[in-house]
Subunit: 392 residues, 2 copies
């Protein structure tokens, strides 16, 4: 059915517009909101008073006069409710409790290895319980739970395939929703990370963002025209399996020369192993220990990172040529190695993308680092809450 338009829709949209403006520019006066949105003063007044009744906006006392009556400043009541965001990783579980502005109120992390599905769900419940009970009293309480997973999620929230967890067709959403009876949103980890950076991180000013999540594998989250693009079935962003070497290494996806075989954390570690690079005194070979070695100017490791940056650049070049984005954000674990991969990555892109694309292209590294996914899914639930709530 098509969308029909009537005065109710108009009111809802305008109310959203007012709330958005207050969130964005707080503290701000009614008069200023009217001027900035183009709405009539009276309209703004009445919408604001409704929003105050709903406790989504607060008055914070008089502001500075600009040559007349002093304005009453409005604030977004970010403590009207809270959101839980969870980054369900391959070997860790990171849960955060945020207010409606994405400020982290509480945080809980669990590491594990080779947990079964049931063990992970148990841990999940524990974390959600702890976070819920730590939420301060508020009018709306915890308004939703978001979970980011390293896998393919259908538009309905079913986890279709998470290779690194060995999950297939998992209805996690129903399980959590049944337990807590609040809205649950499941989203792919890269999509969530992209959204997190767009809403709360370094991508706030941009409308066309490619978020490259470089961890064990490589996933991509696409923000196009300011909105998350999910693809026909919600499976967009599996760019890690892009061919960059036609007769290259074999990938378990069935393809050859996949990008993530050359540029992911796993690829880096594999190459380090081949070169017999040894972390000091028997530590495990991980991205962290490689970062330490790089910090000590270990030549071999530096060259390794350089190479990895270059490989990352190859895939990013492909994406840039296709999308003409405004910003590239390198996220997930590999962003911790920014220092060592930065110049070779930039170099590859400068040399190999079309000149026209470079004009407005920014290459940034995750600002929220390990929290972008959790913040992203938290943002989804917050937005969902505000949308639904404002309809009333």
């Amino acid at each position: 059915m098509n969308q029909t338009w009537n005065q109710h829709v108009v009111k809802k949209e305008n109310k959203t517009l007012v709330l958005e403006k207050v969130k964005e520019k707080a503290p701000i006066s009614r008069a200023d909101v009217a001027q900035k949105t183009g709405l009539n003063k009276g309209t703004v007044s009445s919408l604001v008073s409704e929003l105050i009744t709903e406790q989504l906006i607060d008055e914070s006392g008089p502001g500075e006069s600009s040559g007349g009556r002093r304005p009453v400043m409005l604030l977004f009541n970010q403590l009207a409710g809270f959101s839980i965001g969870i980054d369900l990783g391959v070997n860790y579980l990171l849960g955060i409790l945020t207010d409606l502005n994405g400020n982290i109120i509480n945080e809980k992390k669990v590491n594990y290895e080779e947990f079964s599905y049931q063990e992970i769900v148990d841990q999940l419940f524990k974390i959600i319980d702890v976070l819920t009970s730590s939420a301060p009293p508020s009018p709306y309480g915890v308004v939703g739970i978001g979970i980011g997973v390293p896998g393919i999620v259908s538009k309905e929230g079913e986890i279709l395939f998470a290779p690194n967890l060995n999950w297939k067709r998992i209805h996690l959403k129903q399980v959590i929703e049944k337990q807590y009876e609040i809205p649950v949103i499941i989203e792919n980890e890269a999509n969530a990370g992209a959204y997190g950076e767009k809403k709360f991180g370094i991508g706030q000013k941009f409308e066309d963002i490619i978020y490259v999540s470089v961890g064990v594998g490589i996933g991509v989250g696409l923000i196009l025209n300011g909105k998350l693009y999910k693809g026909n079935n919600g499976f967009s962003g599996e760019s890690g399996h892009m061919t960059i070497e036609i007769n290259g290494l074999e990938c378990r996806c069935g393809n050859n020369g996949c990008w993530e075989l050359y540029a992911s954390e796993q690829a880096l570690l594999r190459r380090a192993e081949k070169l017999k690079i040894q972390p000091p005194t028997g530590e495990e070979l991980t991205l962290q220990t490689l970062n330490l070695l790089a910090e000590q100017n270990d030549e071999k490791v530096l060259r390794l990172f350089e190479e990895n940056g270059d490989y990352l650049g190859v895939g990013i070049t492909n994406i840039v040529n296709t999308f003409n984005p405004n910003q590239i954000i390198i996220g997930n674990r590999m962003s911790s190695s920014e220092k060592w991969i930065k110049s070779s990555l930039k170099n590859r892109i400068d040399k190999h993308t079309l000149k026209q694309h470079q004009n407005d292209l920014k290459i940034d590294y995750s600002q929220l680092t390990t929290h972008s996914t959790a913040l992203g899914v938290a943002a989804f639930t917050i937005e969902n809450f505000l949308e639904v709530d404002i309809k009333l």
Copy 2:
């Protein structure tokens, strides 16, 4: 400035909705429009009567009764105006005159080689003149001119770079607008082709379409969520310069191993030349002559096409993994070789894309063949006209 919502917007949107429904389902009664759009009968009645006054809708007499009063059927008046669409190719100029439904009323083609900018503009004027004067009398006349060009076009319509024409920073739009004083839209050839197939061709039912224009080079047009995606500056779709072989052939774009060096028409011809394939009796070596040879089951040529289909599949696989589209359309000249490239292309995609992506993926070949670009730009001007006109 943000969009504010008021009753004028509501009316405009609903009027558009009614017109769209009539276009889509004609002949259709007022009652049916009301039921299908969810609008009130009275609302539909008044909007339809306005549209009839504006001559965009016609009544076509009574329809079949379904057990009561016979309905008055409504038709979209596709002859209320006409649109000119021009495909400005590297060595040809194809102009069409269409009605508001994209039906081709008249058509004019000129071939040339190595024309200067001024010579091309002169030809352009000639074609536009011929087409304009061939338009039947109508309330709105020719409502706009669209031009598709093989190059990078800014969002403002400036042709920034068209390597195969040797054009840089050309303000063609102003030149044509000044001459004819009607709206002119300039768009990249692949974007236009994608839109043409979406509106009038094989892509009508799909919302996430990747149109791969395989001609001298390779360009890609992206229809995402039913809308053309242009990228931050309007330069999306330069996927022809995607790296598929990291240390591969050198491209004049500065990159190595670009897709179009392996899978374009030019690449095919280059490989044919290398194999010393000879068209019969001194004909030139072109895609057409190769098609003829393939028709005669020339083994070498068949293998050549097979290889080309495979290479096309490599790039398409990359795109599919990133976008999760619903449909791939192979367009432009290479679609004439569908028969010979089809199976190897499909094979590559079946074997190398993630299983999840294959569920709903259709691979089609251009239905409008050589006309998709011209029809696409015609569609842009038609839509622009209807949008602007309905505002009044």
